[in-house]
């Protein structure tokens, strides 16, 4: 096992970066396109993908509240400013309007040895 996430396959690398407290995205050196979820190949076919730090900002594309007796939570699709979309959750409020600007942070895994995840906080209007 290597300590360098860049030596791993894209899925394990992404998760290893999160474990190191970094939100990293793949970007093609030749085409400049970003890829999410992490893959071995970009939509254009390029495989010259390198890991770059995500800006961490984005916009809520859609959102739903999964209502359950044990407690409700929202599930959102967030369009990152890099132009890729990810499933996520908006922390804090029950829900937010579509179009809300959000900022990513890394949330520790609930148990030992789990994989941390990205959650988003609404960006307060200036």
């Amino acid at each position: 096992m290597t300590d360098d996430p860049a030596m791993l396959g894209p899925q394990q690398a992404y998760e290893a970066w999160l474990g190191q407290g970094r939100f990293m995205l793949q970007k093609s050196r030749s085409s400049g396109e970003y890829v999410f979820y992490p893959k071995v190949m970009a939509p254009s076919g390029a495989i010259d993908l390198e890991w770059v730090e995500a800006a961490g900002t984005g916009t809520v594309y859609s959102i739903t509240v999964n209502r359950r007796r044990e407690g409700s939570y929202n599930v959102a699709l967030v369009d990152l400013d890099e132009g890729v979309r990810m499933m996520a959750t908006v922390a804090g409020p029950e829900t937010v309007p579509i179009g809300t600007r959000v900022r990513a942070r890394i949330e520790a895994a609930p148990g030992d040895g789990g994989i941390p995840r990205i959650v988003f906080d609404p960006i307060e209007e200036a």
């Binding site: 899925q11 979820y37 699709l77 829900t95 179009g99 995840r117």
Partner: protein, 383 residues
């Protein structure tokens, strides 16, 4: 010039079993009973079947399991599983195999006991690693996200969604085989428990048991059977994504691509269509597919379904069996789009029979608005 596959095969036998609730029966047992009904319908025997097309939610190798259970020895078989759209794809695959002379009598079949087995949607669909940390509920989270986006972008309302469910119930009330019957108002749907905003339990399809099977032959043989043949006129599939995260635009499904190709193969336009059978897993499906198949402009689906336009007596006959919302939904509903089309085209639909039912348009949906397969079936008059 007509497409080389148009009208080349026909459904000559159709059967269903365990519609609604079938306590005490396994999925394969119900499937077997539907095959028996389909054979009975056309006067063929098990030994006549030389091709098997099957998909279920409980068999990893569906055609293999069917072959063993029924004691068949097919020359051609296919377990393509693209969720609820599998059977519309099987219509196309079976037509290709029949037309190529690889087989003579094709069985397409499906069975499920998900209601009595557990009362929840049964799915072999594996979790998507990039979605798992957010605990989406499969499949409703995906459909709720699409609904929320459609409402945001086009002003579609929860009332519009409710009208889809009310129209489906209107048809179900004319179908003695439908599982959910009785009066249903817009207010009833809006007042049901919220499951995943903006979808209430009233926006969700049923969880039932059910099985269905059909027998396809080449058109040259199709007239030698007791019932009028239901001809294959065209079909096409389109698939752009698997998980909702990867759907390019949540308001546009791949039916916008499969639809035009199916229309072209069938050589039809919208005015030719008597019956529209859309896979309504959730109320938003009907709205999205009406748009993507060109019955109204993108974004207008919500307004299109208002005030009973797709209900009995409305302008466009949609889901005349009552749909997945009110008739039957055993997990992979696509086979029942075929069953209702056959019933209407053969004029066996009883109280809900359409005056003219020569051409049916079917749109199967699989996964999370993922695989779309559009098919066109027709009577002899449509050839």
């Amino acid at each position: 010039m007509a497409h080389s596959l148009r009208g080349k095969t026909a459904i000559v036998g159709m059967g269903t079993a365990g519609m609604g609730e079938a306590p005490g029966f396994s999925a394969m047992e119900l499937l077997g009973l539907s095959v028996h009904a389909a054979l009975d319908d056309c006067g063929l025997k098990l030994g006549d079947i030389d091709a098997v097309f099957a998909a279920t939610s409980s068999h990893a190798f569906a055609s293999m399991s069917v072959v063993e259970y029924l004691g068949l020895k097919p020359k051609f078989f296919d377990s393509t599983n693209v969720g609820g759209s599998s059977f519309e794809m099987h219509l196309l695959q079976a037509t290709l195999a029949l037309e190529a002379g690889l087989c003579d009598t094709a069985l397409i079949c499906y069975g499920s006991n998900q209601r009595t087995a557990g009362g929840r949607l049964v799915s072999m669909s594996e979790p998507q690693w990039h979605e798992t940390p957010y605990h989406p509920r499969h499949p409703i989270t995906a459909y709720a996200l699409a609904t929320a986006r459609h409402m945001h972008q086009y002003g579609t309302t929860r009332e519009d969604l409710a009208d889809v469910a009310v129209a489906a119930r209107g048809w179900a009330n004319l179908n003695p085989e439908a599982f959910a019957r009785g009066p249903l108002t817009r207010e009833d749907v809006l007042g049901r428990r919220m499951v995943s905003d903006p979808l209430t339990a009233g926006d969700c399809c049923l969880v039932t048991d059910g099985a269905a099977a059909c027998i396809l032959t080449r058109a040259d043989r199709a007239k030698n059977f007791p019932k009028a043949p239901v001809y294959f006129l065209g079909a096409a599939g389109a698939n752009w994504h698997r998980s909702i995260q990867a759907m390019p635009d949540l308001t546009v499904t791949a039916a916008s691509d499969s639809g035009p190709r199916a229309f072209e193969m069938a050589g039809i336009t919208h005015s030719d269509i008597d019956l529209v059978m859309l896979y309504d897993a959730f109320t938003i499906n009907t709205i999205l597919f009406l748009e993507d198949l060109g019955f109204c402009p993108k974004g207008e689906g919500g307004r299109f379904v208002r005030d009973g336009r797709i209900a009995p007596g409305g302008e466009l006959a949609v889901n005349t069996n009552g749909g997945g919302l009110s008739c039957v939904h055993p997990g992979m509903y696509g086979m029942f789009l075929i069953a209702e089309s056959v019933a209407q085209i053969r004029r066996e639909a009883g109280e809900r029979q359409l005056d003219r039912a020569d051409i049916a348009l079917l749109n199967g949906n699989g996964g999370t608005l993922s695989s779309q397969v559009t098919a066109v079936l027709g009577s002899e008059a449509a050839l």
